[in-house]
């Protein structure tokens, strides 16, 4: 078991690093690998003396201020959404769950939109407000969807998906209403609603990264409990898992993780659905392997999707959420069909 973990995670990490570099080199402006490496090395404190920053300044700017942060953002958002999806699927014992379909993402989007579109300040005593607003929205929709789907203590799959869809529609409508009433740039917000990694929120990255890593780490601590809950909640009680408490903790942590992703990238759908599935096909359902592997695979998937978005019709861009939905929609239908 432990060896399996090491092998898959190691292979995944190697592939991930390769993809990260690919994502950095490829884009509207091609950057030669040699030059890119040189610029990166010239920024590392100890060895920068041996690599004097040469070349054109704008290449260095593209690399350091746009390309690298963007790839890191894709990695982070992909990992966060995939881990959220894996946890939701395990908790609800339902392979069709995902933060986007459950309406959690649109709740987060509503929270974030209220801050972004109103004239409220982005930072409050140095703390970014948007992620917190997104978290409040995510929790709100989680409670609504869960409450609607729960009858006599049981959660029905159909009601759950249906409530998710309804919450999605209602919250999106409210966001649209806020957009109409506010006088900010409509096109920009619409793109954000579709999910994009091309934004000016890179300054949030230093806050989001440690928060997301910490959340994923705490979630990972519960993988064993999650395995048993995914088998059956009653059995989990017999096996000594504090089921109700673990469920509550995981729902809250996962909503926070989703909210973090949404607050920087908008509504990128289906990543949380597809990735845990593919990961499960490769490594099996044990969450001790599945969660870290989903994170890696999600990062890889979103970096690649984002590369498509910015190169296909360069210098214009396709919103990232459009690409993931085009890939994810048919996959969801396939799963739904296969389940019957």
């Amino acid at each position: 078991m432990k060896n399996k973990f090491k092998t898959y995670i190691l292979l995944g990490l190697i592939l991930l690093i390769a993809i990260i570099f690919l994502g950095i080199f490829i884009g509207g402006v091609e950057i030669a690998p040699k030059e890119a490496v040189k610029i990166m090395l010239s920024k590392i404190p100890v060895i920068k003396e041996s690599f004097p920053a040469g070349g054109e300044d704008n290449i260095s700017d593209i690399l350091l201020k746009v390309r690298i942060p963007r790839v890191l953002l894709a990695l982070l958002v992909g990992a966060a959404l995939s881990v959220s999806g894996a946890v939701f699927q395990g908790l609800l014992k339902n392979p069709l769950a995902d933060p986007y379909l459950l309406g959690v993402s649109s709740g987060a989007a509503l929270g974030a939109a209220i801050i972004i579109l109103s004239s409220l300040p982005f930072f409050f005593f140095g703390i970014p407000v948007v992620p917190f607003a997104a978290f409040a929205g995510a929790l709100l929709s989680m409670f609504l969807v869960y409450g609607l789907a729960r009858t006599k203590g049981k959660i029905s799959l159909h009601t759950l998906l249906l409530s998710g869809v309804i919450i999605n529609f209602s919250f999106s409508a409210v966001i649209m209403l806020i957009i109409t009433l506010s006088n900010k740039g409509l096109a920009e917000v619409v793109v954000w609603m579709m999910g994009t990694l091309n934004n000016t929120n890179y300054d949030l990255l230093p806050y989001i990264t440690p928060a997301a890593l910490l959340l994923m780490f705490i979630i990972y601590m519960f993988s064993n409990d999650l395995n048993i809950i995914a088998v059956g909640e009653e059995t989990a009680v017999y096996l000594g898992v504090k089921t109700e408490r673990v469920k509550k903790i995981l729902f809250i942590l996962t909503s926070m993780l989703t909210a973090l992703a949404v607050s920087v990238s908008g509504l990128i759908g289906f990543v949380g659905l597809i990735i845990p599935h593919i990961a499960r096909m490769i490594v099996g359902p044990d969450h001790r392997v599945l969660i870290p592997f989903s994170a890696i695979l999600g990062g890889i998937f979103l970096i690649l999707s984002d590369m498509l978005c910015r190169s296909v019709i360069a210098p214009s861009e396709i919103p990232t959420g459009v690409v993931t939905a085009i890939l994810g929609g048919p996959f969801f239908l396939y799963l739904l069909k296969r389940k019957k």
Partner: protein
């Protein structure tokens, strides 16, 4: 000495009263069979004994202590439950499912050790599921699955084993194997057993004591000879039967 005790337990689902003031004392190394018609509260009672359900009134004591006040992991190391059936959606292997029985012993962050693997392997051999230990649980028949859950309960190395109709999906050779296994554990390792059975004859043959439930109350309890009589079966189940060598015949 009694190891498990239900004291004045009352429980209902909504309006419906399921258990009514039940008192049950389980002694160490007992082998108790709970019988009774459908809806008499057998499963509800069994779930109460392993904190699967919380009684509305009354308490369940393990070695004199309220099980809801004890650490959940401690209870899982001492009391194991084999539920009737559970649908498992994710493709865990048989080995992985049985290994979950070790979870009360495995600390957060650590992986199962050599000893855990050995215990799981021997539990799987005892329940005759070792042959298909790498198969996915969702590919098994319900009878095979039932034996996997028995293996998982054995991996918990419990003092008390609770079984909810453990033979309901089994063919006769496996019914016999499983009950012989439970009997052996009861006699040799002194595991205390409480088992629900709808098969009065099997229960009479294997259990040292029977508890007969009717509409959420204990109708009678004691040795099979005392419990399984023509009159009592007629009163509780409403059917006329003949008894041949202590076996119920319709």
């Amino acid at each position: 000495m009694n190891i498990l005790e239900a004291k004045n337990i009352t429980f209902g689902y909504g309006e419906k009263q399921v258990l009514n003031n039940i008192n049950l004392s389980v002694n160490e190394a007992d082998f108790i069979g709970i019988i009774g018609p459908n809806g008499s509260g057998k499963t509800t009672l069994l779930k109460m004994l392993c904190r699967g359900l919380k009684p509305e009134a009354g308490q369940v004591l393990f070695k004199g202590k309220n099980i809801f006040k004890l650490d959940t992991g401690f209870v899982a190391k001492n009391i194991a439950m084999v539920p009737q059936d559970e649908t498992i959606i994710f493709p865990f292997t048989v080995f992985e499912i049985v290994m979950m029985g070790r979870s009360p012993y495995i600390k957060r962050f650590s992986w199962e050790g050599k000893e855990d693997v050995e215990i799981v392997n021997s539990a799987m051999k005892l329940a005759d599921v070792f042959r298909f230990k790498d198969r996915n649980i969702d590919e098994l028949s319900s009878g095979e699955r039932q034996r996997v859950f028995i293996a998982r309960a054995l991996a918990q190395m419990p003092k008390v084993l609770l079984l909810d109709e453990p033979t309901s999906h089994l063919d006769i050779n496996h019914q016999y194997d499983i009950l012989e296994l439970v009997k052996k554990l009861n006699e040799n390792v002194k595991i205390t057993v409480v088992m629900i059975s709808h098969d009065i004859n099997l229960a009479s043959k294997y259990c040292k004591k029977l508890v007969l439930l009717k509409k959420g109350r204990i109708y009678t309890e004691g040795k099979a000879k005392k419990v399984v009589t023509k009159k009592i079966i007629k009163d509780v189940y409403g059917v006329n039967v003949n008894l041949i060598k202590g076996n119920v015949l319709l």
